[in-house]
Symmetry: C2
Subunit: 403 residues, 2 copies
């Protein structure tokens, strides 16, 4: 099983390429959560995520022959970029198989880090099959995304950094997909500070670790469904499971809505872009899923920031809606001069801001002498939404809430 | 005139509330710009921008009577939050006048930092009038946003931090609105390292400093127009102008499109949210507006991260379009089975990704047996856009580019 010495050894191998990432005290989240919160900003890691650490530890321990033959892997995400940059910086050739419909931005980033990208297959499984073919045919070493002790040890260096910067950490909260990240971190934390708790967080739509711990053996899910694509894994690893069983105190889950709210808070309050998978620790803390005392020090690991800009827009919108900060409504006006002005007056009196108005006099759903109007509004929170809706009703409007 | 000693004195006053912000080497921008680039991450400052430094220095130097009477100011932006938090942390009462239509998120943030917010007036000028009324009526001290040596000195502490972390800085690039930030930074840099250059950057639609330097006296613009609202100032200050004349080497301007591209790169590549005003130094460097040699060390100051989430979405879209990464087109299909499939085939062959399709068989602009289709596409850059459009034309489609 992965040992503390493995993590210490990794530390001597990875920093020629990986960055020691900052730990930042957050006034905002300390206040919201009711404890001292330090954010581990692994989203500022090179390639935008922690995967570079494990990849580098794996590649730096290849034999000379293995180095000459090069490496291969399959990934649509952070692992692709981590392997690409680690290999290039170690002078090792890399081939990365990505599914054909991988976002162009991720394909380009992987190429930019020096990998030879092969686009193949409709999904990750088909890409992985092709990568294993290349492994056999070309004699390349397949770099596992999580189920490999050297990879797990590399990710564990995050645990060492956390305790170096914050020796009094009481609770460390870590995302779980395949379990590589938390295996490494828990091994480091428990060796140095056995009383600290290590809590894993999964998306509710991809919670194989929670199910596996309950059952006492690895559970493979039939399907996964979450906006946190970085942890949308059907099962945890064979190597990671026993480490998690032994060294992780608890695993909790969060909903997509909670994830969207956490991503939105991180962007707005701390100016940090975090991907869904990277925001689950904070989502669990904000959702009171984890018990922390006011005098305790909590470290959520923001594991990555690689969120597609289109996904980001969608997630931010969901986050604002979930917090009562954005409201989309439809109502019907008498089609007479000034009707829209009257409506705008009620909204202004209640201090909501209008983002957009769609006004349609020809909709077939309403009476001939009426007009339908849709409004996108900026609101102050749930109470304000209720107040505003009450005021509209009192003024005689029938309102449908669209979002 | 502002002296280096003023800046040193400010350093002893501000760190009970202000954060010492990180300086981070950027592989991405070093490669793109062709020099060693270190980003000064002032966007990670408390309240999300540098204004807290100057506000704190001003408030900490109030007399006991002035402290008791409290402070007042007007602002729709970062200055509001900076004054609010600095006052609260110093135990001083604050009133901030904000224009009536200020974004709710900014009003709430200012209240959260402990200020009494007064909503008044249609724009900044009307809010400022009311704030000066309050100053007279209540005997409060008005905290200037930039035209005050104590405020300038506070912002100058950024220059000290830059040289502490990067003594070999050759070029420091700083946004200019009213000139408070660059006055302070230039004073610090030139005192410690006279050979370093300090370059100011303005938005092309709000370039009073550039015009003033050319004319040799302060120029007031009739109007300003830029997405960088943090530096949308009609004139630089009386106190800041002579400092800029003496200590700033050069002032350049950037367009809104260049600003949008810089914000987009910062989000995508470094996972940092930066407001338009904070991104102008990088925009100027990416646009080759500033001469830097390959062996030089350049420090763009990312002065703030307070961008409204709605503005962010718009800016990111503009940034992607400007880089050929997003394409919106309209074309007409024969209205027969499989026509849309044929079109999608041409797009797939050319490896563009389809984000959205709007298909309308009833548009009045097209012939009866044809249908109009609008496509939102993810593309790889300008060359790819040209290739794709050529391929569509070769396949017989007439294409309108919408964005």
């Amino acid at each position: 099983m992965l040992s503390f010495d493995d993590v210490l050894a990794a530390r001597d191998r990875i920093y020629s390429v990986a960055r020691r990432t900052p730990l930042q005290y957050s006034h905002t989240f300390s206040e919201m959560i009711g404890a001292d919160v330090y954010l581990k900003l692994e989203s500022l890691q090179r390639t935008g995520a922690f995967k570079i650490r494990g990849a580098m530890n794996r590649i730096e321990t290849l034999s000379p022959d293995q180095r000459d033959a090069g490496v291969v892997t399959a990934s649509a995400g952070n692992h692709a970029q981590g392997v690409a940059l680690a290999a290039t910086r170690s002078g090792v050739d890399s081939k990365i198989v990505m599914p054909e419909h991988a976002p162009i931005s991720k394909v380009k980033a992987t190429e930019r880090y020096g990998a030879d990208v092969v686009l193949h297959g409709a999904d990750y499984n088909e890409a992985a099959e092709r990568a294993h073919e290349i492994e056999r045919r070309e004699g390349r070493t397949y770099v596992e995304a999580f189920d490999d002790e050297l990879v797990m040890a590399g990710q564990g260096t995050i645990g060492l950094e956390i305790l170096d910067d914050c020796p009094m950490a009481d609770v460390v909260v870590v995302p779980i997909g395949g379990g590589g990240l938390i295996s490494g971190i828990a091994t480091a934390i428990k060796a140095r500070r056995p009383d600290a708790r290590v809590v894993g967080v999964q998306a509710a739509g991809a919670s194989s670790a929670a199910a596996s711990l309950q059952k006492g053996s690895r559970v493979e899910l039939d399907s996964v469904d979450t906006i946190a694509d970085g942890i949308a894994t059907r099962t945890i690893g064979e190597e990671t499971f026993p480490v998690i069983e032994e060294r992780v105190d608890e695993v909790v889950t969060v909903t997509d809505e909670e994830i969207a709210v956490a991503v939105t808070y991180l962007v707005e309050r701390t100016k940090l872009l975090t991907e869904g998978a990277g925001a689950v620790p904070l989502a669990a803390l904000l959702g009171d899923q984890i018990d922390v005392a006011p005098d305790e020090t909590v470290v959520p690991v923001l594991s990555g920031g690689n969120i597609d800009l289109n996904t980001l827009t969608t997630v931010l919108m969901r986050g604002l809606i979930a917090n009562g900060r954005y409201l989309k409504i439809r109502t019907v006006l008498k089609d007479r001069p000034g009707a829209l002005l009257d409506l705008a007056g009620v909204i202004a009196e209640n201090r909501a801001n209008i983002y957009a108005i769609h006004h349609d006099r020809t909709s077939k759903d309403v009476a001939m002498n009426a007009a339908e109007v849709e409004l996108d509004l900026e609101t102050r929170g749930h109470e304000h939404v209720v107040e505003l809706l009450d005021a509209l009703e009192a003024a005689g409007y029938e309102v449908d809430i669209l979002a």
